[in-house]
Symmetry: C2
Subunit: 417 residues, 2 copies
């Protein structure tokens, strides 16, 4: 499954791994810039070569010539469902369980508010203390808006024991944005179900990087980001999943004309669309959907199994090299060593992480920093090479050997990601 | 102010008007296709020539090369506020009262829910029966979500008398999407204020077409669409206005990380950003914002006063020609004859409107149909010529003279806009 790495490894061995990589041809589908080592594909993915021509065609032909006729003739109207069905193939969902709409934050709100409204006798939203800020903020906000609801955060290891008959929704991020640790989606969903709660999974750091099977996990609800491992471009729209069995029960709280059964009759009364189209609110972001679709097509071509395998190999190599060359500089690998329990990133804890990050960026190695002391190295499997991992570790070691981080210019914090 | 039209007019006179049109140079800034007469710029505006190169630059340079660094280096992070400040200049708002975010529907929801939450003792949302469906659906949905609230629709002429001390929010669309009639924003806002209610204005059919002065009208809240008269492209993001005096009182109910005072510190607790950034939820749609900004810059160049004057002239000409040449075919002009009380459209009522619309589209004239019997002719002032108005009326008259609408192929309804 995951490639076994040799015990001792050098740059040539990494190049050898790249030559044997079944995804190496996929890398050629991206606009590359080998003057940098990009370890931030988990924040903003790289540009697929086919994206710019597709967007140009949409603008120059479909918009400029087709004008308003393109809503039907270029299938703009159906694009959120068409792309949703494709993304379903990356996350083990059925084609009619996913739609592309709004942002991750808005989608989290829609699903959370829908659950609170559908299950009024249950008053608690449960999450973990270390969930991504937006997930926590939006849950707290939805609870406050609807009123008489409790928003509760517990430690990661207390989640299962904190479920009870008052919990309406357990909301978790599948891959932890800081550590890269993966939750056991199936076990936690099952635990939520035992107490009659629904489980909402944020797949922002999962989709396009690790294996996800929403059907097999019996997941209820999910959202995910379009601009990280899906490579949809800055501010790409998000996707939203509702298990078929819940599609009649849960209602989009932001009901707009496009969630109406027949939008263009502009009926007086709101009649909710059947299926996932009910989760649309306003007009779909057609240009951004087209860009995201190009990138999703690339992933579908190779299939998530091979992508997830490469992610495990890349992160495994990084951890092996970090143990060999960075531990002595005080770095602690906080990402799980079990390849099946980590996302496509390796996070290193170091007291000087912020300044090290700045020094690396100045040398053309771009990881990111996460408070308070995490150097986060995303290894996007579609275009990151094994030799990039080697070069990154080499540069981190060099920064430490030369104390290049010890520069007054790196004192003041300014955040880019 | 508005050009006076000669009593008798022919095609040559229309061409003469075009030659004297101070906005005629602006038309050259759009991708044109003179094989059609486009009367649907109020549904999807035309493409500015500068948009495609700007989007290509964003994709090929800022995304592909700048990667995640472009959030600061290309000012992506600030783009919703930067463009909001520009749009403020089109609607008589202060630069720090507008932000570009989400869709019109989501923005309507945010503002409506914020008011309901801030004013819990007032239980009614008031609107008019003929408000645009999304505005009505979203109001009803917000009232139902929060609970113990009343959503009430009244006839246009009953609005003022229906205000009372239970009304939290009066929500209206400034220019009626069907008839093109303009509400008296100042008088209705004042009436709302007399009863202690807030007024929310949907400017979707106003911005870029008619004069709006939110400050002078003492408007509280507003939203507007980016893809109609603003020409931002299919699914362009919307904008949202909150009067400065209300920015501390009203809170975005969809609180995400980008509405946090310091998003990148990823703080545990949510601290609401000050000013309009608090209305951001998820990551901004950077590509779509760039496209919209190009189009807004064109409008700012000529200024809304000249744009609104041309809109009045175009619609005035259309009404004059309709009276002279279409009345005898059973068309009724339902758009107000007072140029200051109509948007940049002329709506004609006719029992066969749907089939006439289909026949016109087949002849390269593209208006749209609105239930039950409205032929809606949008005359986007930035690129519509006086001669286009002449040709449109000519074609409508020809369709009627030849009974071209009386075609079995036009029987079954299919909606494109």
């Amino acid at each position: 499954m995951t490639a076994t790495l040799p015990d001792t490894i050098d740059r040539a061995a990494c190049q050898q791994l790249d030559r044997r990589d079944p995804l190496s041809a996929l890398r050629e589908q991206f606009v590359l810039d080998d003057s940098i080592v990009y370890l931030d594909g988990n924040s903003l993915g790289r540009l697929p070569i086919a994206t710019a021509p597709r967007v140009a065609h949409l603008i120059d032909e479909e918009w400029a010539r087709g004008l308003v006729r393109s809503w039907t003739e270029a299938d703009w109207m159906n694009s959120p469902l068409r792309l949703g069905a494709k993304i379903a193939g990356l996350i083990g969902a059925q084609p009619d369980e996913v739609i592309v709409t709004d942002s991750t934050t808005v989608d989290l709100f829609k699903l959370t508010a829908a659950v609170l409204r559908a299950r009024p006798k249950r008053r608690t939203i449960l999450t973990e203390h270390d969930n991504f800020p937006t997930d926590r903020y939006v849950s707290a906000g939805a609870a406050a808006l609807i009123g008489d609801r409790t928003y509760r955060e517990v430690a990661r290891e207390e989640i299962t024991d904190s479920l009870d008959s008052d919990v309406a929704l357990l909301t978790l991020t599948h891959v932890d944005y800081r550590t890269g640790a993966v939750h056991d989606m199936r076990a936690l969903t099952e635990a939520a179900h035992r107490h009659g709660a629904l489980a909402l999974w944020d797949l922002s750091h999962s989709t396009g990087a690790v294996a996800v099977d929403l059907s097999e996990s019996e997941a209820d609800l999910a959202v995910g980001c379009g601009y990280k491992y899906l490579n949809g471009g800055p501010g790409a729209p998000a996707f939203l999943f509702v298990a078929k069995r819940l599609q009649d029960e849960l209602h989009n709280p932001i009901q707009g004309w496009l969630g109406h059964e027949t939008p263009f009759t502009l009926d007086h009364a709101f009649r909710r669309a059947s299926g996932m189209r009910a989760w649309m609110s306003g007009s779909p972001p057609v240009i951004a959907i087209a860009a995201l679709e190009v990138a999703v097509d690339l992933l579908l071509e190779v299939g998530m199994q091979r992508v997830a395998e490469k992610a495990r190999s890349l992160t495994g190599l990084f951890i092996q090299l970090a143990d060999a060359r960075l531990a002595r500089h005080g770095f602690e690998v906080v990402t799980p060593r079990n390849g099946l329990r980590r996302g496509s990133q390796v996070s290193l804890r170091h007291a000087d992480a912020y300044r090290i990050d700045r020094a690396l960026i100045d040398r053309g190695v771009i990881p990111d920093f996460r408070e308070p002391d995490i150097l986060r190295c995303g290894l996007a499997p579609l275009y990151t090479r094994f030799v990039d991992v080697w070069d990154a570790v080499e540069q981190i070691a060099a920064v430490m050997d030369q104390r290049a981080f010890d520069n007054p210019a790196y004192g003041e914090r300014s955040f880019i990601t």
